[in-house]
């Protein structure tokens, strides 16, 4: 009996991610959700600009590479071209919450029937560790070498809270992948975000609080500890909006 195997939707190629990076886990969870729902043949993924830029090689479904921040607009085009397809974007914090904020907010407010996987690791990874829109107050990065000073650099953007305030989106949740319990919950939540699209419910975003050992300058295990001790208090986990559940509760 097979207890554990690679999801079929995850290509059998080596990933380019740094050792200890949690992108690998999140890729796996996305692929698992696609497998579980049996939608691989009609799914199209949108890769971002950032660490996951080459995600188009890692998923076995049809894939497209979007310009920095524009993935929700590209996904909108794909979905409008054929609403029967399942469209997901996979984006980092710089991509989604900085340069692509307009595309994110408007895809959400249109309740565009797409699934957004938002990886929040509080830093720009691909370009070598610059301050992200989600970097914590005081966080040292290449472009905040004395720590993020909120007086000049402002405060981190709380994406899930911000989007949950809109009337449009169907489902907004924040999960983490720093321990087994959280990974299991992340798996359930990501699957739900795809299921919502299959059931034509609308815009579903899962924010995944994630680590970046390389650019945080920590060992993988220290990074997960730092995530637990610093990020989760600023970015509390939970379901921020679930329109269908709210309706059922009425």
């Amino acid at each position: 009996m097979v207890v554990f195997e690679r999801p079929k939707s995850l290509a059998e190629v080596p990933l380019h991610y740094c050792p200890g990076c949690t992108h690998g886990i999140i890729h796996r969870l996305v692929a698992q959700a696609i497998d579980d729902l049996g939608i691989e043949g009609r799914t199209i993924g949108v890769a971002p600009v950032g660490c996951a830029v080459m995600a188009y090689d890692y998923f076995t479904c049809d894939m497209i590479e979007a310009a920095h921040g524009r993935a929700p607009a590209v996904a909108t085009g794909l979905k409008r071209a054929d609403p029967g397809k399942i469209i997901f974007t996979y984006q980092g914090d710089g991509d989604l919450a900085s340069i692509g904020m307009a595309e994110t907010v408007h895809a959400a407010t249109r309740n565009e029937n797409i699934t957004v996987i938002f990886v929040n690791n509080a830093i720009y990874g691909m370009t070598g560790g610059q301050m992200a829109p989600t970097s914590l107050p005081g966080q040292v990065t290449q472009t905040s070498p004395y720590g993020r000073d909120v007086a000049t650099a402002g405060y981190p953007v709380k994406v899930s809270e911000l989007l949950a305030a809109l009337d449009g989106p169907e489902f907004i949740a924040r999960v983490a992948v720093n321990n087994v319990k959280n990974v299991k919950n992340a798996q359930k939540t990501i699957k739900k975000a795809f299921e919502n699209q299959v059931n034509n419910k609308g815009f579903s975003l899962v924010e995944v609080v994630s680590s970046c050992p390389t650019n945080w300058g920590m060992t993988p295990s220290d990074a997960l500890k730092w995530l637990d001790e610093n990020m989760l208090s600023y970015y509390p986990l939970g379901v921020y909006k679930d329109k269908s559940a709210e309706k059922e509760g009425e």
Partner: protein
Amino acid sequence: MSEKVLMKGNEAIAEAAIRAGCRHYFGYPITPQTELAAYMAKRMPKIGGTFLQAESEIAAINMVYGVSAAGKRVMTSSSSPGVSLKQEGISYIAGADLPALIVNVQRGGPGLGGIQPSQSDYFQATKGGGHGDYHLIVLTPASVQEMADLTGLAFELADKYRMPAMLLADGTMGQMMEPVELPETEPEFIDKPWALTGTDMKREHNIVNSLYLVPEQLEKTNFERYERYKLVEENETRYESFMTEDADVCVVAFGIAARVSKNAVVEARKQGIKAGLIRPITVWPFPKKAIAEAAKTSKAFVSVELSMGQMIEDIKLASDCSRPVYLCNRVGGMIPSPEEVLESIKKAAGGNE
């Protein structure tokens, strides 16, 4: 034969696009292309199409990128400042070898400029516009009829050569009303095996992408793309010649400037000056051979433009600077009068700067 109807240029583009099988339109409000989006907003929901007013021109062009990747005919329209915003997306569309139609109903610039007609986006349209090496097929209508005809052609050529096409119009062409005969034939669609339609578990996954981190690979894609561009230059260069056979002075103008110039050429002939007109219908590819031919018999060229002199550079290149090229131009929303063009023709005929 279909009936002639009276239409605004902007509306003619919209109706012609629908008849060419375009069912996806993404735009953002800007003058003077307003009627085009308004027409699409009315029509698309009635025919099972998509009209979407995007949050920005940037989002609109990226929605175009998505639909095109899915293999469907798609368009966006804007005017100069908005088209500048689309350049990033256009570069990605060109880099991923996707077809699409971008309409630029030009207005005066730079900056916010004005809302009156202009041709000052010529460089942007014909030399690439965004980052990297690429071209668009750029068509320049000079009547409402051509607004319709060239729209259908733009979709065909874009599909055939897998590259974006641009309809480079101006505020006059967009706003003026003329009788137009709309196409009645069913559009023809070609197979797009590269499109993102889902693998259906029957084929390897398709990837639409413009990223090549290995320099040898990126170089190869650029070279291959320019081989394709050569074919476009050979097969798809379009222009109209008017009284050029024996012309001493060859006027070159497109769009509204060509219509004004035609009157000036006729008047010059009446006054005994052998003038002619080459009207590029494609400005990329530019009718280089026609200009080179004209340089053999004409004494001088006059470039009539609604810009500070952009197309004039292509005329000089195509004629190998073998003949003087005079510039007759108005900018900022102004249009040269036939008298002004005639003055330039006279100057060119007399050889006086």
